[in-house]
């Protein structure tokens, strides 16, 4: 303990040593120069280069993102437009179909009415013709009957019988 104290007081711990100072300076300067050559230059330039590389990558990524967003926006717009277009087309189609249907049904109704009326007319004509034919027939028959009556002369019973039988005839013929 005593000796260590003496050494401390004698200043061994703090004593200057020119040799060591000299060697430290020389060593440090040489190390500095060597490291500058072999290490700091390449490492710092590599770091700078990488920093630049990373920065440019980030810039490029941002640019790509912006582009992608622009494209997405455009796509959305296109899609919205296409949707609207489709809606419009569907609406128009519906309207057209409605109109068409209305038209067709109208036409069909008109046609049907026309047909019905023409059928009615025809029926009327046929009826009239039938009536004409009937009228002629009846007149002929009446004339023939009258002829027969007149021929068989004035026997009332006979006449009556003849007329009856004639009527019978007509009714059976008609049926």
């Amino acid at each position: 303990m005593l000796t260590s104290g003496t050494i401390l007081l004698a200043g061994s711990l703090l004593s200057p040593n020119p040799g060591l100072i000299f060697w430290t300076a020389v060593t440090f300067v040489i190390v500095l120069l060597i490291l500058k050559k072999i290490a700091w230059g390449p490492i710092i330039s590599a770091l700078d280069e990488r920093e630049k590389g990373i920065q440019s990558s980030i810039d490029r990524a941002h640019q790509a993102k912006d582009e992608a967003e622009a494209i997405l926006k455009k796509n959305r717009e296109t899609l919205a437009r296409a949707d609207a277009e489709a809606d419009r087309i569907i609406r128009e189609g519906k309207e057209y179909a409605d109109r068409l249907r209305a038209d067709i049904s109208e036409k069909a109704q008109a046609e049907a009415k026309k047909m019905i009326s023409s059928a009615k007319d025809e029926i009327e004509q046929e009826k009239r013709r039938a009536l004409d034919v009937l009228r002629n027939e009846v007149a002929d028959l009446a004339v023939k009957g009258a002829e027969k009556i007149i021929k068989t002369t004035l026997d009332a019973d006979l006449q009556k019988k003849i007329v009856d039988s004639m009527i019978q005839d007509i009714s059976t013929k008609r049926n």
Partner: protein, 343 residues
Amino acid sequence: MKRVKATKANAIIKVLAIIVPLLLNINGLALATTQEAPAVSPVAAAAIEPHAAAEAPEEAHEAAAGGEEKAGDVIMHHILDNNVLAFEPFGEIELPKIVIGGFDISITKHVVMLWTVSAIVIGLFALAGGTFKNMTSRQAPKGLANALEALVQFIRDDVAKANIGKGYEKYLDFLLTAFFFILVCNLLGLVPYGSTATGNINVTLTLATFTFFITQAAALKAHGIKGYLAHLTGGTHPALWIIMIPIEFIGLFTKPVALTIRLFANMTAGHIVILSLIFISFILKSYIVAVVMSVPFSIFIYLLELFVAFLQAFIFTMLSALFIGLASAHEGHDEHEAGAAHH
């Protein structure tokens, strides 16, 4: 259950592994310290050669005392510089003494450590530097290059760029070298047979002197000679110059001195604490103290030292950058004072 038993057995084996060598060695080490006495004294004599004559009776006292008194000597022997590289059980290497023009520039233990540090740092960066040279910006770094790059980037961005600002690139070489040099110096003191060169005030003084010169050069460059001299007056009234100029002049030197002492004291203190904790058990001659106190506490301090090694390397670099930044800054004088008072 089996697992628990196994872990228990493991724990017991671990404890035995710690205790048994201690029990076996306790006598041997005690012997070693007493035997070291004659070995130490010639070294001590060599270290304090100029005072050899005055120290002679002291030495005799030392040799006679033996035992407990040796603890302090051994600690100081570990911390101080000397001309012997000791590889304890295998022997030691005497280092050459070189004297040129009256200056003693002998290769001492710390010089060897400095060279070892240089070799390690240069080796590491030679390995990593090759990777960087062949690397394109598209490749991610890995392995050693990545580890070193993280530190380099930290010094560049958080130390140099943050404190110096514009034009930090010029000082980056110095700051990076100082950081790695000091870091490896600090760490080398924590490995067996190593010693902390940064625990020697001459080394830290030299490193701080580099910072001093670079700081002054930066100040001169930024303000010109006129601005530099005006800075020394502190921007006060000429009547106060007689007080201000000496204060500012001293202020120039306090910063590097603070750097010197901070690094030196931090590195020395940790080692003294570890060694003292270990020597407590030798002084008390008790292995219980060794197991309960010396070993756990010195492991704790060792881990703390590991942290301090990084911290002090960082602080030295950080403050160097700060001083350079303050010297080259164009702001008023108040900033300067604040920066100096900051640490």
